[in-house]
């Protein structure tokens, strides 16, 4: 990250020079930090990614006076500067001013949860040691009060030596105080700088160890890691700073680090493995001292209302049933609420296309505008209703505290294949659409778990597969029923198709989990925050930002690719005269023209080219073309089949004509093209393939690399091909033997 200079995301170049001071906004997770950030900056926020990593970057403008503005940087929630995850590492890097393109950080606001002072003060001690002017926002004092905790704020401020502002983010209280305090700190440099004498006292050997390692590896390299980074590398064995140091200075650093560590441990008379423990105990001792001096609290562990609610919500039976109910509601909303919205977006774009088309003369330009640009933009925007609804629910569940409980409930099952409870919501969402599902993996802090979840999410049977299933089942699967009409064969096949993806995903996850780098594994410790009423502003901002980032980031890739695919299906042009043979000289009907044009286009040629490869699946070149043309989105296969079987492209999955045309289609030797086995092979292919540009684009956007969409496409296409092949080959043999 430190060497990243070229790749500056659009979001990070908006700091516009160094005149606007940066203020880092940080704290433990679940401190109300985001609510406070949203209350301070409102709509003046930009969301993006830090260059080259998957960590979300959120920044907002904070107006401090008529002339002074600050760039408030909302850092990922973290428990310690001993970074255990990429999110935490980014937060440390921003604080240390190690990320190019970021405004230089002039001050830090540390949000502290008054009801969890001990571990919040732990982080504060690390932040104050960086020497930045620091403001403490003491939040959630109402929760603390309800637990019988009372804090002498003035005394705490005196002992800390930096400003402490009492805030209640959920009520909007203390915002003006915080704003004024930040302004004062920025206006008068030198104020609010932490006094080392008030910070935890470490044995002199610690500083000496840092000095000697800096000397060993050379001033230049040490400066690139920073003194704080060198200190962390010594204390955190196999930590991210050690890794960075060794990557930078391969030759000498490893040996120097080892010898510095062992001599430090020797002089402190402890085991080397206990170095981090010494630091932790010193910091917690400092925090305990502050708490004893400033806080009155009950002597025993307090049972809160949250604990009483949790007895029900995390109950093995009742909690699980309620969880299933909540998930059912979300799932239902994704299908039912989004459907009319999607329908109206589609109608709007088709209307726009027709109107614009009518004002343009026929030709490449008209087709490019209508089919390429307007059609492509429509194919981006149809995802927005599902993304908005999903993130509305996710934000509500997250903000009220239920999300952590759902991860707890699902962890037992998902841990068996290397996933964690946090993977459940993204995977379930992917049954509606993998695009919002993959975006929802941001809440997974372990990098490997998140990668595995992203890579298997497209295997969940999304709503775009349904049209393919519906037409194949209704045309080629016989209407038999069993158990006196209770169970129908068609319904069973549909259910089987939904299970194919999920059943494949678990072993795939198991394999991926073993292939991916496991060194950076984050420990599974899931905080269960107190329940609270969701903050409406935070929820709506999250919905808005998810939709906006999908449209601007993934949308541009989808639109570009849709235009490329349009060109491949439009060129080379086939002169109508050359088609005269089919219709015996009479005016060729337009759908026949369209069919022949598609067959002769580059995509059509590709279909002919791959026919030998798809023949073993029971497909002819037309099905091959339809499969290739559905690369932007699976449901395109229906309209492509419609065009290829000369029905025009206005068909959908309920079209009787298409069903009839597919049933009548034959191989050149007169055998019927489609049988139940062919239909199954096609359905299995579409259940497992990665024919969805939006998914691949969003994987690129979320992982920051083209490698992962390529891996996804590669493994899913291979899986789809092999399984379709097995279905067809085994199916035809069974049918030949009279079993079907």
């Amino acid at each position: 990250m430190t060497t990243e200079t070229s790749d500056i995301t659009p979001a990070s170049d908006a700091g516009i020079g160094s005149r606007i001071p940066g203020v880092a906004f940080l704290g433990n997770p679940n401190t109300g930090k985001t609510t406070l950030f949203n209350a301070l900056t409102g709509m003046r926020q930009r969301v993006g990614n830090y260059p080259g990593v998957t960590v979300e970057r959120k920044a907002g403008r904070l107006k401090l006076s008529e002339t002074l503005e600050a760039e408030l940087l909302d850092l990922p929630g973290l428990y310690s500067l001993a970074a255990a995850s990429p999110d935490e590492l980014i937060a440390v890097d921003v604080l240390l001013g190690r990320i190019d393109g970021e405004p230089s950080v002039k001050a830090a606001v540390c949000v502290v949860d008054a009801s969890n002072l001990q571990r919040n003060l732990f982080l504060l001690s690390q932040v104050m040691e960086l020497g930045l002017p620091t403001v403490v926002a003491l939040n959630m004092s109402d929760v603390a009060a309800s637990r019988g905790i009372s804090i002498d704020v003035d005394h705490l401020q005196k002992l800390l030596g930096v400003p402490v502002v009492l805030t209640r983010a959920n009520k909007g209280e203390g915002l003006e105080d915080l704003r004024t305090t930040i302004r004062n700190v920025l206006d008068r440099p030198g104020t609010a700088e932490p006094d080392p004498a008030r910070l935890p006292t470490f044995p002199a050997e610690f500083a000496a160890a840092v000095d000697s390692l800096v000397y060993e590896i050379g001033g230049g390299d040490a400066a690139r890691v920073s003194r704080t980074g060198v200190g962390r590398a010594i204390l955190d064995r196999d930590g991210l700073f050690e890794k960075r140091l060794l990557e930078m200075n391969r030759s000498g650093a490893s040996g120097a680090l080892q010898s510095v560590r062992s001599s430090l441990a020797q002089s402190l008379e402890i085991a080397e493995s206990d170095l981090a423990g010494v630091e932790i105990r010193i910091r917690h001792g400092w925090a305990r001292g502050l708490i004893q001096a400033c806080v009155q609290r009950p002597d025993t562990l307090v049972q809160t209302a949250s604990d009483r609610i949790d007895r029900w919500l995390t109950h093995p039976l009742f909690g699980f049933a309620l969880f299933m109910g909540v998930m059912g509601l979300v799932f239902q909303a994704l299908y039912a609420w989004a459907d009319p919205l999607i329908g109206s977006i589609e109608a709007l774009f088709s209307l726009t296309g027709n109107v614009v088309g009518a004002y343009m003369s026929p030709g490449p330009l008209q087709s490019l505008v209508v089919d390429g640009v307007i059609g492509g933009a429509g194919s981006v925007l149809v995802f927005v209703p599902q993304i908005a609804i999903l993130f509305l629910f996710l934000a509500l569940l997250e903000d009220c505290g239920y999300m952590a409980r759902s991860a707890f409930l699902m962890d037992r099952i998902l841990a068996k294949c290397g996933l964690s409870g946090k993977s459940f919501i993204p995977l379930m969402s992917s049954f509606a659409c993998a695009v919002p599902g993959i975006m929802a993996t941001r809440s997974i802090d372990d990098r490997r778990t998140r990668m595995v979840t992203i890579l298997i999410a497209p295997l969940m049977s999304c709503s775009a597969r349904l049209p393919v299933y519906v037409i194949m089942i209704s045309a080629f699967i016989p209407q038999q029923s069993y158990l006196g009409g209770l169970v129908g064969l068609q319904g069973l096949v549909l259910l089987a198709m939904y299970c194919v993806g999920a059943a494949t995903a678990l072993p795939v996850a198991w394999v991926l989990n073993r292939l991916l780098d496991r060194r950076e594994a984050a420990p599974f410790i899931l905080e269960l925050p107190s329940y609270k009423i969701p903050d409406i502003r935070t929820v709506l901002l999250r919905v808005y930002q998810s939709c906006a980032s999908f449209i601007t980031r993934a949308g541009s890739i989808i639109l570009a690719a849709a235009i490329v695919l349009w060109a491949l299906a439009y060129y080379p042009r086939i002169e109508p005269a050359a088609m005269g043979t089919t219709a015996g000289g009479a005016a060729t009907p337009s759908h026949i023209v369209a069919s022949q044009q598609l067959a002769g286009s580059y995509i059509g040629q590709a279909g002919h080219f791959i026919e030998p490869a798809v023949r073993p699946l029971g497909w002819d070149w037309r099905i091959g073309v339809a499969a290739i043309a559905s690369f932007p989105a699976r449901e395109v296969v229906i309209s492509t089949l419609g065009t290829l079987f000369s029905l025009g492209d206005g068909v959908d999955e309920s079209s009787e004509e298409l069903r009839a045309a597919l049933s009548k289609a034959t191989w050149p030797d007169g055998r019927p093209l489609f049988t139940a086995v062919t239909a199954l092979s096609l359905m299995v292919f579409f259940a497992l393939c990665a024919q969805c540009l939006a998914t691949l684009a969003v994987i690129k956007r979320e992982t920051g690399s083209w490698l992962w969409p390529a891996v996804t496409f590669g493994y899913m296409t291979t899986l789809a091909y092999v399984c379709a092949l097995l279905v067809y080959q085994i199916g035809t043999r069974l049918a030949g033997g009279g079993f079907l």
Binding site: S80, R147, G277, R281, H284, D310, I525
Partner: protein, 95 residues
């Protein structure tokens, strides 16, 4: 298994004996004796406040489990719970 640098034997005046957290039932309550340090899990849990003498309570046993350490509630996996050594306080068993 390190004992947090403390070298005195584990003898306590009134309390119960040291045991693994995984042996606790719902509602059991006491203090942390030590956390295995040689793992990221152990380090992170100590950063979160699981230090010797921190108060700890089993909220939900099984797998994964939910524990309360001072004012925080955390879900951890049962295999990690073996890395936490705890001691019951006299007369506080409510489960």
């Amino acid at each position: 298994m390190t004992t947090n640098g403390s070298s005195e034997p584990l003898e306590f005046v009134n309390g119960g004996s040291e045991e693994a957290l995984s042996s606790w039932q719902n509602g059991d309550e006491g203090v942390v004796v030590s956390v295995e340090e040689d793992s990221r899990f152990g380090i992170r849990l100590q950063e979160l406040g699981a230090l010797p003498d921190a108060r700890i309570r089993m909220l939900l046993s099984g797998s994964p489990i939910v524990i309360q350490i001072e004012d925080g509630r955390f879900c951890i996996r049962s295999e990690d719970a073996d890395k936490i050594r705890v001691r019951r306080l006299p007369g506080v068993r409510t489960g």
